[in-house]
């Protein structure tokens, strides 16, 4: 996260490869289900043994005996509908919820977040010298309507995408934040409105952040969990 500040985002998880290296973010939507970005994985049908989701700590490299850290193996993945860029990851066992690990709500199906709603992104990715590299960083940003956002993206924004952030240089998500949450505070709850996806560049001026609009896929998410 560029220009973020260290903070607490108990639904943000760190996805770790088989060497234990953080490579993408994710969001805990059920005790045993995480949403992330499809590009983080080689295939929906890949072998997931050895991959883990870490949560419960804001440290990027917590000690192996950190009592707060929960490292839960990923059991399998389910890829989202075509062009969604989403992936659901099922955990081997449910996460233990506490003050450091919490679920994030899903929005109503098709819900359009009002412009100006205050949201935040979180991740352990690149800071490019704008913040602390060893902890989870959070950046608060307002939602921008697709109409307004399309002015910066020449009309290329899809209905399935949500735009948030600023047109100023040097703010936003960056490498290894992908898959993490765009969480917005509505109805007295933190709601997962977007998933961070890679764009060309980090913190480019006149390029607000673009995220997958989770509300367009809530029926799929619920179906994966239920079935």
């Amino acid at each position: 996260i560029l220009r973020g500040t260290p903070g607490n985002s108990p639904w943000t998880v760190s996805l770790r490869n088989r060497e234990g290296k953080h490579f993408c973010g994710g969001s805990l939507v059920r005790r045993n289900w995480i949403i992330s970005m499809k590009q983080c994985f080689s295939s929906c049908y890949a072998e997931f043994r050895g991959y883990e989701a870490w949560m419960g700590t804001i440290l990027k490299d917590p000690r192996s005996d950190d009592p707060d850290k929960q490292a839960i193996p990923i059991r399998r993945a389910v890829c989202g509908p075509k062009h969604s860029n989403l992936i659901m990851l099922e955990l081997e066992r449910p996460a233990t919820l506490n003050s450091r690990v919490a679920l994030i709500c899903l929005p109503p199906q098709g819900y359009i977040v009002p412009e100006g709603t205050s949201c935040e992104i979180a991740g352990w990715g690149e800071t490019q010298g704008t913040g602390r590299d060893d902890v989870l960083n959070i950046l608060v940003m307002p939602v921008i309507s697709n109409n307004v956002c399309n002015r910066y993206y020449r009309g290329r924004l899809a209905e399935t995408e949500i735009c948030a952030g600023t047109v100023l240089r040097g703010f936003g998500a960056c490498e290894r934040d992908y898959g993490g949450p765009l969480a917005c505070f509505t109805h007295s709850c933190w709601v997962l409105e977007g998933v961070i996806i890679p764009r060309r560049g980090c913190g480019r001026p006149n390029h607000p952040g673009i995220f997958v609009r989770v509300a367009m896929y809530v029926d799929w998410i619920k179906k994966v969990i239920e079935l």
Binding site: C189, W190, R204
Partner: protein
């Protein structure tokens, strides 16, 4: 610090049986069983039951006729390597393989027979030399390896021409698919078993890397190193390369599709010209060592297309990556690269969200055949012709009984994929409809709450 299991080849989840044969089971650890079997001359293998912690000593291996390998969740089969290898280590004195023909094609004479050639190497006189039937053996430490007396009156004995293990299989590229039997490093140290964490603790547990063939203590290359290696049984030397010959001729990656405009799987075959990371940081040239020093040079990785400063995946990471020109960022993924569409061609179209689709497509978007709606295998459906009688759930045709806004779907015939969307697209001019919940009526349950408090400054504390 070598494990007695080093002498054994493990087959997970397998037990070896021979009809009407039974040996006493004893409660032991796997290593105790291995010690016991090694000390017992007639023992060639043992079944180890992980639940009861008992082993069953066997006088035969799976290479012998009349034996049967059976799947068993709680049993691992350990067989002495000397009986499993069809290659030799050093001069092959411990070779116990099943070859019985000399290098010129002559049949071997039985060691217990003195016809046509009389000799003194009888099995009864040398019970530890493994002089079974007429198999090639090296009871006298011959320089040329295992040999035998031949059944040809004119040729008393001849060597069998069995290759050394480090020469039998050669390496293609970096040897990432090497699955041979070499279990010593280039300096002669014995390898540590991959499934053990002593003398060296490590990350490469076989169960974490099922596709990397981390069998026993054989040399392997699970991490995209320059060539196969292993942890050693010497506590003072963590890991070393193994000396295995490289194949002659052109080296090419096996089973990897080369792509240029997009990447498939994890992008090992990507050969396009994108040379920036997803953050638009320029990539460092692979043949340069500045700003980052590294081993991923075009010379070391001749099959990985390390040209210029293009995004590549020489080490089997999650996606193509590169060293960056930014001193503070050593490596970064090129996630902005398009992933090739691996869906199969849609075979039909649907209108709306497809609830009225009554066509005959019965494959998922990945081409997996659908499961019949009225069967319980491989998946036990919650949506059935009984629960949704008006949804047209016939045979295994794709349908949308639950009004899924993303179109028709089905349970799949692949046990690992419960359900998926089908190889059908929306008909031209028919946009998808989405079911919208009323935001005003939504009530959230226990999710999305947190204690907002200042972050503890762990460092200063």
């Amino acid at each position: 610090q070598r494990s007695p299991l080093n002498d054994y080849h493990r087959s997970k989840g397998v037990q070896l049986v021979r009809p009407s044969y039974w040996t006493q089971e004893m409660p032991f650890s796997e290593e105790d069983c291995a010690i016991h079997c090694t000390r017992t001359l007639s023992c060639r293998a043992f079944n180890y039951n992980l639940q009861s912690k008992q082993c069953q000593m066997l006088d035969w291996t799976s290479q012998e006729t009349g034996t049967e390998r059976q799947r068993h969740n709680h049993v691992d089969l350990y067989e002495k390597k000397d009986y499993m290898r069809e290659c030799i280590v050093n001069k092959g004195v411990t070779y116990r393989g099943y070859r019985y023909i000399t290098k010129s094609g002559k049949m071997c004479q039985h060691w217990s027979s003195n016809v046509p050639h009389e000799h003194r190497n009888s099995p009864s006189q040398f019970p530890r030399k493994g002089l079974d039937l007429n198999y090639c053996r090296n009871p006298d430490n011959d320089e040329n390896g295992p040999w035998c007396y031949t059944t040809d009156w004119h040729t008393r004995l001849e060597d069998c021409g069995i290759k050394r293990c480090d020469e039998m299989e050669c390496l293609m590229c970096n040897g990432e698919d090497y699955s041979g039997f070499v279990d010593h490093t280039e300096s002669g140290r014995e390898c540590q078993r991959w499934d053990l964490s002593y003398p060296h603790g490590h990350n490469y547990q076989p169960e974490k890397y099922p596709e990397k063939n981390l069998d026993n203590n054989y040399c392997r290359n699970p991490d995209g190193s320059r060539r196969p290696w292993c942890y050693t049984t010497d506590p003072a030397v963590e890991r070393e390369y193994c000396n295995i010959r490289k194949c002659d001729g052109e080296h090419r990656l096996n089973d990897v599709e080369i792509t240029k405009t997009c990447f498939k799987h994890n992008g090992v075959g990507y050969r396009g010209t994108i040379n920036q990371t997803s953050a638009r940081t320029p990539c460092q040239r692979w043949d340069k060592q500045f700003p980052h020093k590294h081993e991923f040079t075009p010379e070391n990785y001749s099959c990985k297309g390390l040209e210029e400063n293009y995004c590549r995946n020489p080490d089997g990471s999650e996606a193509p990556w590169c060293f960056t020109k930014d001193r503070g960022v050593r490596t970064a993924f090129c996630f902005q690269l398009e992933r090739c569409n691996d869906d199969i061609e849609p075979e039909d179209c649907y209108t709306g969200n497809g609830t009225t689709y009554r066509g005959f497509v019965s494959k998922t978007r990945k081409g997996i055949p659908c499961q019949m709606w009225n069967t319980n295998s491989p998946h036990r459906p919650r949506v059935t012709p009984q629960t949704h009688p008006n949804a047209g759930l016939l045979k295994n045709y794709c349908r949308n009984p639950d009004g899924d806004s993303h179109g028709p779907w089905c349970y799949t015939s692949d046990p690992k994929v419960q359900w998926d969307y089908c190889a059908i697209r929306t008909c031209n001019g028919h946009a998808k409809s989405t079911n919208k919940e009323d935001p005003a009526s939504v009530e959230f349950e226990s999710c999305g709450r947190r204690e907002d408090r200042p972050v503890e400054n762990k460092k200063s504390r």
